[in-house]
Amino acid sequence: MIQTKTAAETDALVIAGKKFNSRMFVGTGKFSSADVMRQAVDACGTEMVTVALRRVDIDNPDDDMLSKLDTSRIQLLPNTSGARDADEAVRVARLARAASGVEWVKLEITPDPYSLLPDPVETLKAAEILVKDGFIVLPYINADPILARRLQDAGTATVMPLGSPIGTNQGITTRKQIEIIIHQATVPVVVDAGIGLPSHAAEAMEMGASAVLINTALAVAADSVAMARAFKKAVEAGREAYLAGPGQMRSVAEASSPLTGFLRDE
């Protein structure tokens, strides 16, 4: 991958032609109130917020949650969570677009309501249909490099591999796969799910992820707003470190005075 190292300040994320100044996306579930959610959104400076279509009335501007989001500044990203297969996801996405005019969709197909792990087969199927239908599709996937390739080939705007199962706060347990996905990506890679601490977010960004999506870690923190600020700093730090070109990590120590330094050419 060719890396053009620009200064962090001018390093905007572009998805489907739209520029984002923040590399932190936020999910809106699980908060103790819509007001706390809004304050957290404001505190982290995110410009991309995902809402579950099953939770909101997408056609109602007075909806408790939607009314709290300043859509002049924030890209609304409706998601299909709760869909069990491609048919359901496509149907929900189309109705949402018809009602709201929003063409962006976070494609989530999670037939197992316990683990909420994404179904790769149905996700690819739905992505192909929705892309052809003119949607800007951001699919939530397991950290499967071949699936990521298939999706970007199908025309999705990003790929969103999970760091660990959703809501677990376990961090980047799929690191090796995500590294491959980032290495081969032709679209932005957004690490979604499982990021429980700012340090996890920084880790994803240091690896070269284009952005991270955070929800549970903010929603269930004792102080969601302070946690949102902490994540903002971590995402920026991780991105800046990535752009700075970190030194290679080695598995053994490298002596600064090499043992073979005495050998001289004679």
């Binding site: 099953r54 048919d87 037939p111 683990s115």
Partner: protein, 396 residues
């Protein structure tokens, strides 16, 4: 309804209950928990929630765990917030009929009781639904006694269709139906089924359900599986607390939940805790009354065994009890409920199935949730998920 064994496809639930000796209270019940030590309890509390283990459930509901309820509560609060966030889903029951051909000894609608029987007309049921919708509810539970002459899939589908615009989610708590009937209702926009086994003990079951179609233990226990095969997304299970030792019922209930989750993994299991309530003309000296401490232990043990199942606490419980238990694992609550057909608006004096305990209004309950730092969730599904008949994958 299914009445003969030959019609029943293999039941994973029944098989598991039998294999684990939990289709009746084990013969060695008096010494059943003797092998559980306090050290076992401490270890289970300290360990993260792993895949289902009957042994873990047994340990956490054991008498040896009683001194550790506070630690269990702390752990249950943490796991519930992590998995479900700071939210509580609210739903409302609408009773549509109290006609019943069964003779359950604990129930106010028992066929032998001389009470004015009423089945709401579709129009009346719609008025009742509109009344709860005005309170803010978007999640509706239609409840009826068992009488196939009065309560049919077609009747319920018609109500569901008429109320669709008010509710994002509609489920039923009615007599067992055939898989085909569940399929009809699933297509009709009903996506959840609640059905309590009452007791998992075969012999005791017969004693409490002497007559009527409900006397068929097997015919009832296989029904969640039929509903799941028919595509129902939400499966509510429970044991009626008060007619048998709650520790036994919790073991069987936990196994029931586990088997449903394992084999019907696309449907979400939710457990309820129906503690027996006073009802018109029924016995009031239940032999296994479940006290508050026991109910709390049951809720905590199940939450610490299943991090992701739904748990519902209805207005059967007092406001005080619900307020205390709220953060310990509960995901769903009803509020302002009426347990008589027409009770919200159409016929407010009709006879109730049981007397509710938490009499706070819907507004009071939702305001209380906010003061405790919980967002009351009214809508958590969208009818757009339901198949309207078009195959969307073919028209692109």
């Amino acid at each position: 309804m299914i009445s003969t064994k030959s019609e029943i496809p293999q039941s994973h639930v029944l098989k598991a209950l039998e294999e684990n000796g939990l289709d009746r209270r084990p013969a060695n019940w008096d010494s059943y928990f003797d092998d559980v030590t306090e050290a076992n309890v401490r270890r289970q509390i300290a360990e993260p929630i792993a895949p289902f283990s009957l042994r873990r459930l047994k340990t956490l509901i054991s008498p040896a765990a009683l001194p550790y309820l506070e630690q269990m509560a702390q752990a249950a609060v943490r796991v519930t917030r992590q998995r479900f966030g700071n939210t509580i889903n609210l739903y409302a029951p609408v009773y549509v009929s109290n006609f019943c051909i069964n003779r359950c000894k604990y129930c106010g609608f028992n066929a032998t009781h001389d009470l004015p029987r009423k089945r709401l007309t579709v129009d009346e049921a719609v008025r009742e639904g509109e009344a709860v919708a005005r309170e803010g509810f978007r999640d509706l539970l239609l409840v009826a006694g068992e009488d196939p002459k009065y309560v049919t899939p077609e009747y319920l589908c018609e109500i569901a269709a008429r109320l669709r615009k008010h509710f994002s989610s509609i489920s039923i708590e009615i007599a067992p139906q055939s898989e085909e009937s569940y399929r009809i209702m699933e297509r009709g926009g009903i996506e959840g089924v609640t059905l309590y086994q009452e007791t998992y003990d075969r012999e005791l079951y017969r004693e409490y359900h002497p007559k009527g179609p409900k006397s068929d233990y097997v015919g009832r226990i296989v029904m969640q599986e039929a509903a799941a095969r028919a595509g129902m997304r939400r499966l509510g299970i429970g044991a009626l607390l008060g007619i048998n030792d709650w520790r036994y019922e919790t073991m069987a209930l936990g196994l029931h939940a586990h088997v449903l989750i394992k084999h019907y993994w696309q449907s979400k299991v939710s457990v309820s805790f129906p503690r027996i309530r006073p009802a018109p003309d029924v016995m009031d000296n239940f032999p296994y009354y479940v006290n508050d401490r026991s109910l709390v232990q049951m809720i905590l043990a199940l939450r610490l065994t299943f991090s992701d199942i739904g748990m519902s606490l209805s207005t059967r419980e007092s406001g005080e009890m619900r307020n205390h238990v709220l953060p310990m694992g509960i995901t769903h609550m009803s509020a302002g409920s009426k347990t008589n057909p027409g009770g919200y608006e159409v016929d407010v004096d009709a006879t109730e199935q049981f007397v509710i305990s938490d009499e706070r209004s819907v507004a009071e309950v939702s305001e209380y949730l906010r003061t405790r730092g919980f967002d009351p969730v009214w809508k958590d599904f969208d009818p757009a998920f339901l198949d309207s008949g078009e195959a969307v994958t073919q028209d692109s």
